[in-house]
């Protein structure tokens, strides 16, 4: 039902970007994948500014996969701004990161992350994790219809 919507992958490491894209491919997830390489770029896409001027922010991505360690603006900063804006506050955001530090988990959830997934080292496990994320967020989970505010 969210098949037309895109997936926003916020990831600065090209290896991780490639692996994530491959994992999505392996799971036959057909949604368009938009990659943002730093926090600013991610916000440009979400709010339709900069390179993405003209994009409607109300057109939420089906899923935002957000890394925490990012140049310019870190993942938690991105999350804070997404949650602060009326138009984007309901966007499903999954933190996908290397860290399992308690402070990251706590702050991520405090800022309103929908899930927190740690990237496993084994690629097979990673593929499985992405598969489950796709099944859950793109198939099972129901999102409210976009509310167009005045």
């Amino acid at each position: 039902m969210n098949s037309k919507k895109c997936i926003l992958l916020v990831e600065d490491n090209p290896d991780d970007e490639e692996l994530t894209v491959r994992a999505l491919d392996r799971n036959l997830i057909a949604n368009e994948v938009v990659v943002a390489h730093d926090g600013e770029e991610a916000l440009d896409f979400v709010f339709g500014r900069g390179a993405w001027a003209g994009r409607d922010p109300a057109d939420l991505p089906a899923l935002i996969l957000l890394d925490l360690n990012l140049p310019k603006l870190d993942g938690l900063g991105v999350l804070r701004q997404i949650r602060a804006d009326e138009r984007t506050r309901r966007a499903p955001v999954v933190i996908l990161t290397s860290s399992r530090e308690q402070q990251d988990l706590v702050r991520g959830y405090d800022l309103g992350a929908n899930s927190y997934v740690r990237k496993p080292i084994e690629f097979d496990e990673f593929v499985e994790a992405v598969r489950q994320l796709g099944v859950y967020w793109l198939v099972l989970n129901e999102m409210p219809v976009a509310v167009v505010t005045a």
Partner: protein, 575 residues
């Protein structure tokens, strides 16, 4: 020591000594004068020194007085002491040569002035002069003071005994001092000179106004008693002489003497009362104040200082106490500052460690994911053709990357145990042990291990850390019993000396007891990777958890017969 202007007050006893010596000199000089003006009267008087003894006394008293004045008079005192010693020796020689020196009791009883016992007074005067002679030659110190005090004690003792014997007229006492007998007049001057010497010694050894005041009061009282007794004795004899010729004069003399004696006793009483008042105000009160200051200081009032009421020994003590208190406070302050500095440094180091761990957690894993992921991509790409050997090699690369990921995770756990705050609470060890074993069974459902866990064991500690601890110990027991046919794990507890002792025992592979030291060192393994997997961080983590709780761990094992790990934790407070 603390105030130089104390000097004059310190010298009080010595000045008193100079005065006493001067009185002795005056007595001797008056007697000499009497001999010059009226030899017959002097001869008949009971209270008159014979010329030679008077001259020796004059020189000796002068030496003692000058000795008391100290600075500037030392040479003169030395000269006079030498002269006095010589005169006294000559006196002894003359007396011995001229007559019978053995004193007879009858002489003492009848007149109190037998000529042939002058040898004793000469000897005592010689001793007094010698003590001055010895002491005046060197800077006055404790040693000289002891010489002077010893001489003074000897002379004072003999003089006082003689004096009392004459006054009391006790046959027994007279017989007792017979070998040491001196004439009554001699006894008085000897007492004066000895007291002067004593005052010098006291003034220099103790060097304190309080001692000075007390000695002065005692000396004044002693002199008053002596005077009163002497007055009674002298007027009594005089009245007896007079009573036959002029009865009225004798009665008048006795009345006058009685009035004088009453006056002396009143003064004596006043001196005693004054002494009590002085001691109370200058000794008891300052000591009380010092006590109060000490008590306040002990109760953590570090800024409290004792009041310095007087410039005396107690004043010095108070100043010393205040110095000590100030030093102590400064030391305390310094310590507090150092602790503060260290704490700040420690916090900085901890912060750095925190950042480091964070960086490790994030940045070290990313390349490993790439290594593992892309290797997997190569291997699983249908388009790649790989030999069986290459395929195996890639498998090793992947396994190594995975192992390194596990290593990083374990190291992070170890460092987190050191970093995170300890939350002490009541922890149900039995419940955690059951949960850990249940997890292990889920991971390897095929294994049949008999696990016996003692129920109802509680400890006081941080639940998260204790979970890590039990996961590691039970995980080890689980792992090392993998090749044991009838695998079993026993978890027991005991309470010893207020500590909970908890043990995990298995019948697995065991270890060589000789190498037990290596067990708890990170990355040290006692088994090969091929036998049992692991990275050697588990037991180091266990030990770190126990260190943070103030507990200990001990291990015993035999190769092939299992191992037992026993650790201690604080006992949980009853709920």
């Amino acid at each position: 020591m603390f105030h130089d202007n104390d000097r004059s007050r310190r010298d009080l006893p010595r000045h008193f000594g100079v005065l006493l010596a001067a009185v002795a000199c005056a007595v001797a000089a008056i007697d000499l004068l009497r001999w010059a003006i009226d030899p017959v009267g002097a001869q008949e008087s009971t209270a008159s020194l014979r010329p030679f003894i008077a001259a020796t006394t004059l020189v000796c008293g002068g030496a003692v007085a000058l000795f008391g004045l100290r600075a500037g008079y030392a040479r003169l005192a030395l000269a006079l002491a030498g002269l006095g010693t010589s005169l006294a020796v000559i006196g002894i020689v003359i007396t011995v040569m001229t007559g019978d020196i053995a004193p007879k009791l009858v002489d003492l009883v009848s007149a109190g002035r037998p000529e042939h016992i002058d040898v004793n007074v000469s000897l005592l005067l010689a001793i007094a002069c010698l003590s001055v002679f010895i002491s005046a030659r060197r800077p006055f110190g404790p040693w000289s003071a002891h010489v002077v005090a010893a001489a003074a004690g000897l002379i004072l003792g003999i003089g006082t005994m003689n004096f009392l014997a004459y006054v009391v007229q006790s046959q027994f006492l007279l017989a007792a001092i017979l070998p040491l007998a001196v004439r009554l007049d001699s006894a008085v001057v000897l007492i004066l000179i000895a007291a002067a010497l004593f005052a010098h010694a006291i003034g220099d050894v103790t060097r304190g106004p309080i001692v000075g005041r007390v000695s002065a009061a005692v000396a004044v009282a002693a002199v008053l008693i002596l005077l009163e007794t002497y007055l009674a004795e002298a007027t009594g004899r005089l009245a007896i002489d007079l009573v036959a010729s002029d009865h009225a004069a004798a009665v008048a003399l006795l009345d006058a003497a009685q009035a004088a004696r009453i006056g002396l006793l009143v003064v004596l009483f006043a001196v005693m009362v004054g002494s009590v008042v002085i001691i109370t105000s200058t000794v008891a009160r300052p000591i009380k104040a010092l006590e109060g200051a000490l008590a306040a200081f002990m109760q953590q009032h570090r800024e409290f200082r004792a009041p310095v009421i007087q410039d005396d020994e107690i004043g010095e003590l108070s100043i010393g106490f205040n110095k000590l208190a100030a030093e102590n406070a400064a030391l305390q302050h310094g310590l507090e500052r150092r602790v503060e500095e260290r704490t700040v440094q420690l916090a900085a180091v901890n912060q750095e460690l925190e950042s480091f761990a964070y960086a490790v957690s994030h940045d070290l894993r990313a390349p490993l994911r790439a290594v593992e992921g892309f290797t997997r991509a190569i291997v699983s790409d249908p388009a790649t053709t790989l030999s069986e050997a290459s395929r195996r090699d890639f498998g090793r690369v992947q396994a190594a990357a995975t192992r390194m990921g596990q290593l990083i995770d374990d190291l992070l756990v170890l460092s987190r145990i050191t970093r995170q705050d300890l939350r002490r609470e009541r922890v149900d060890l039995s419940a955690i042990a059951h949960e850990v074993v249940a997890d292990l069974r889920t991971l390897e459902p095929a294994r049949a291990v008999e696990v016996r866990i003692q129920d109802g064991v509680f400890a006081n500690g941080d639940e998260r850390l204790i979970r890590v601890l039990l996961t590691n110990l039970l995980g080890n027991a689980w792992k090392f019993t993998r090749r044991t046919p009838d695998a079993s794990i026993d978890v027991d507890s005991d309470i010893r000396e207020g500590q909970l002792s908890y043990s995990v025992r298995d019948n697995g592979a065991g270890f060589d007891q000789a190498r037990v030291d290596k067990l708890f060192v990170p990355f040290q393994r006692l088994h090969s990777m091929r036998e049992f997997e692991g990275n050697g961080i588990g037991l180091a983590t266990v030990q770190r958890v126990l260190q943070r709780h103030g507990g200990r761990i001990a291990a015993t094992g035999t190769v092939g017969h299992g191992a037992m790990f026993t650790f201690t934790l604080p006992v949980a407070r009853p709920q």
